[in-house]
């Protein structure tokens, strides 16, 4: 598979732009970056708009783009759990988090561990919370890296062993460098670019591909029946219904407590900002739903019958 020059050029240009943006972000809404809350929470000055991009970018990631459509392609209806999941996080966000925001602002807490230590007075509990947060975020980060590796591979950039890892290492080092120097302002500014790209891509894909494939009726007709819907539970178990609902509920209860989403919430200007975003962020869930259907578009297009698909799954496991 040769190098895809168009995709590679676009990728390099965009990456160059966000590298510049990441370092330049240190001067945006200027503050003393030696202060932890300035560096770590952007000075708690992100209004409705920016919080929407930042929190949206945190909640909807390579998971949205790669994992969910892939699951739809492989397992079918089960992948759609991501939609109820990202519906029910918003009542939780609305009811619980403005209060948490207020308490953290009042006492100067920057992280969940700070809050736990202040609230319960126990250092060890705070440490346990910190370690849990770090460990829990690692699979998330691993997913982002795997996603990036897949994208790099899809552009035709290949290499064996260590050489194949070089583009990913370069990308990671650059991202780490400007996040270190600019703090939260870096991912916040980049989230704006990233999320705009996601919206454009999702709507373009959701409009153009069905037209190309002959309409939704044809697409869903091409999906095998066992993938189209959840399997009806047999016997006395809740079966796939229980799986679906608990996946949605469990993920929703956890998501907002992850360090990356907590940070985005605590960096808001006020509790009002958080509440407004609970009503506005579902726009991203709509996009997520459209992107989940990409997996079905691939099925309808016969991607699973392509020889490259067999090659590709061989590469990923190799």
């Amino acid at each position: 598979m040769g190098l895809n020059w168009v995709a590679l050029t676009v990728f390099v240009l965009l990456f160059g732009f966000i590298t510049w943006l990441g370092f330049a972000a240190a001067h945006w809404r200027r503050g003393d970056l030696d202060q932890l809350h300035e560096w770590g929470l952007g000075g708690r000055r992100f209004g409705t708009f920016i919080t929407w991009f930042l929190l949206g970018g945190d909640i909807y990631t390579a998971y949205t783009f790669i994992a969910v459509p892939a699951l739809a392609f492989g397992a079918g209806a089960l992948a759609f759990f991501a939609v109820p999941y990202t519906i029910i996080i918003y009542p939780i966000l609305f009811i619980v988090f403005p209060r948490l925001w207020y308490v953290c602002r009042k006492h100067g807490y920057v992280t969940a561990a700070d809050f736990v230590r202040g609230r319960f007075g126990n250092r060890w509990l705070a440490l346990a919370i910190t370690i849990t947060g770090i460990v829990a975020t690692m699979p998330y980060i691993a997913l982002q890296l795997v996603g990036l590796q897949v994208v790099i591979g899809a552009m035709g950039v290949t290499g064996e062993g260590f050489v194949g890892d070089i583009p990913l290492i370069i990308a990671f080092v650059i991202l780490a460098a400007f996040t270190y120097s600019s703090g939260l302002r870096a991912p916040a500014s980049i989230a704006i670019v990233k999320d705009l790209l996601i919206y454009v891509t999702a709507f373009a894909a959701a409009i153009i591909i069905p037209i190309h494939l002959g309409g939704f009726g044809k697409i869903f007709a091409a999906v095998p029946p066992e993938k189209l819907l959840l399997a009806v539970p047999q016997g006395h178990t809740t079966g796939a219904y229980g799986t679906y609902a608990t996946l949605a509920l469990g993920s929703a209860l956890a998501l907002l407590l992850y360090p990356h989403t907590m940070t985005a919430i605590l960096s808001a200007t006020s509790g009002h900002t958080v509440r407004r975003n609970a009503a506005l962020l579902p726009a991203y869930t709509f996009v997520l739903g459209l992107l989940a259907l990409l997996g079905f578009f691939a099925l309808a297009d016969g991607v699973d019958k392509l020889p490259e698909f067999a090659d590709g799954s061989h590469c990923m496991s190799g």
Partner: protein, 68 residues
């Protein structure tokens, strides 16, 4: 615990929590019919829920927002 800044409990919040029911009651929407524009019920119903829940959240926001 009833100060403005802390956002005390409001009965409107029940409207928000009510959203959990149709969203998580999977047997209700696990079907192909009634389909719409070629899309099975399972899919378009959940997408519709996204829009409805955003609208409900907006309603609760305006109903409970104080000048604080």
């Amino acid at each position: 615990m009833n100060n403005n800044r802390g956002y005390a409990w409001s009965w409107w919040y029940l409207l928000l929590l009510a959203q959990f029911v149709p969203t998580l009651w999977v047997p209700f929407y696990n079907s192909v019919e009634p389909s719409w524009a070629g899309i099975p019920f399972f899919y378009w119903f959940q997408m519709a829920l996204v829009l409805v829940s955003a609208a409900v959240t907006a309603i609760v926001y305006f109903a409970t927002e104080r000048a604080a």
